[in-house]
Symmetry: C2
Subunit: 286 residues, 2 copies
């Protein structure tokens, strides 16, 4: 079958698609040059732009996986022509796909070298409850800038989740966490005061709170309820994280319990979207 | 203890914090009015802005949880004064926190009503492998606009992951998925052709691909490897999802296997960040 990847949007006539009715264009030919044509009817031009954008997204998603999983030896992507051949895509589509990856700060074009991987994106496991330093130990040293630490009266919603009386003190800790010196996440943490009081003097700069809790309580952590969201960083959070305003942030809310079921750690974590991926395995069976 | 939540950033003198040295200001008094003061030294003014922004973020995170979990009966937030009292925060901090939630399109200010919840954000489980219609069935009907469906020669990286010969045909499906009529996600899917050929004629508009695969193969799905990221939507993806350009997108890459371990479904899914949360439980023990 001679069909090219770059043509996958135009389905075979036997295939139903409400938006891409078969055209008279041969399916095995790449799309014509994608520069604007002065005399093309506006609808046809818009359709061509959409097709090209769709193809660029498809290609970008495939390349993104390889970029993030070490699929390009030496950290350099093949030349545009080679990529086009490998994926059956036109040069314009390849360029547009690389533009998408550049916009995400995963790759850069370096004169005389080509397109190189500049992503500093690290995997965080979703399969086990681990602190940041534990999970990223292979990738470098995690250091924490403690922006704030001190007791606060627990707002009702914090008190309820940590099972302490409303308005009783809890320890509030705010940390900017770095990997290899670059900001990775901004963590807001609430802990019950019996554990919190001992945390205050601990080495919060170099140690995960998880480890410290286990040391202080002499108990292992058990489970955590987590919620993940993608949000745009507000101006101030972006500035703290040294990311562009509006940058995509992976927001993690996590309530962690000790083995015995006692909730001991409520966290609101903003990960820089360009520095973290979360990976895990899901099972179909309940 | 009379300390207010709004003051939590200024730690007690016994508490170490490199950025908030104790000031002469009594800790039990709310911060003074936060309007710019003409004669304040620039450093003090900058510090005050930072403190207010930090407090607003703290408060916004607590309110966000309640907004998303039905913590405000009737979908209306308490008045600003009441919120200020509940959280020991100044009115300016409350306003700034509500601004953050508004920017995320979680709440709106309605004249004569107050601050109302407008979030249409739905929970997607991370504990079990479920299709979108399965997981969201309580929240409304999922419909799929099939933008493309048809065979394509598998690029090497797709062939490898689906365990089919390189350049052999796989089925490519592109769907815009809606919940309650509004775009929720854009899904790019690759399937081996023996399953894909039967999918072409199936009711892709109203049925999860997961269900169709199980029906076609007569086998239950087993596990899936997933990777989650937060990215900013490119212009074209944003337009398709009817989201603002640059909107935060929760990107899910998922390779799903049948019970017998055969990989049958490779997906690249862009969820609108303002419409989905992912929740699950993590365990500490390996």
């Amino acid at each position: 079958m001679a069909q090219h990847f770059g043509n996958t949007i135009g389905p075979a006539p036997s295939v139903w698609s409400p938006y891409d009715p078969p055209t008279s264009q041969p399916r095995s030919r790449p799309m014509p040059a994608e520069r604007p044509r002065e005399h093309a009817p506006p609808v046809a031009a818009a359709r061509r732009r959409r097709l090209r954008a769709d193809r660029a997204r498809q290609l970008a998603d495939l390349l993104r996986h390889q970029v993030l999983t070490g699929g390009f030896p030496g950290g350099v992507l093949p030349l545009e022509d080679a990529l086009g051949q490998d994926y059956g895509a036109s040069r314009n589509t390849v360029r547009q796909a690389l533009d998408l990856l550049r916009a995400e700060r995963l790759v850069e074009r370096q004169p005389g070298v080509g397109t190189v991987i500049v992503a500093e994106k690290y995997p965080h496991g979703l399969d086990r409850l681990l602190g940041l330093a534990e999970t990223l130990h292979e990738h470098g040293r995690v250091t924490n800038e403690v922006r704030t630490v001190g007791p606060v009266p627990a707002p009702a919603c914090v008190a309820e989740r940590l099972c302490v009386p409303a308005r009783s003190d809890v320890l509030y800790v705010e940390r900017l966490r770095r990997l290899g010196g670059l900001p990775l996440s901004l963590d807001l943490t609430y802990l019950p005061m019996d554990i919190g009081a001992e945390l205050i003097g601990a080495d919060l700069e170099n140690t995960d709170v998880f480890r410290l809790i286990e040391k202080i309580t002499g108990q292992a952590l058990g489970t955590a309820e987590i919620t993940l969201e993608a949000v745009n960083a507000d101006a101030h959070s972006a500035a703290v994280l040294q990311a562009p305003r509006g940058a995509a942030v992976l927001m993690l809310e996590r309530l962690t319990q000790l083995c015995d079921g006692r909730p001991v750690d409520l966290e609101f974590i903003r990960f820089r979207g360009d520095r973290i991926t979360m990976s895990g395995q899901l099972r179909r069976a309940a």
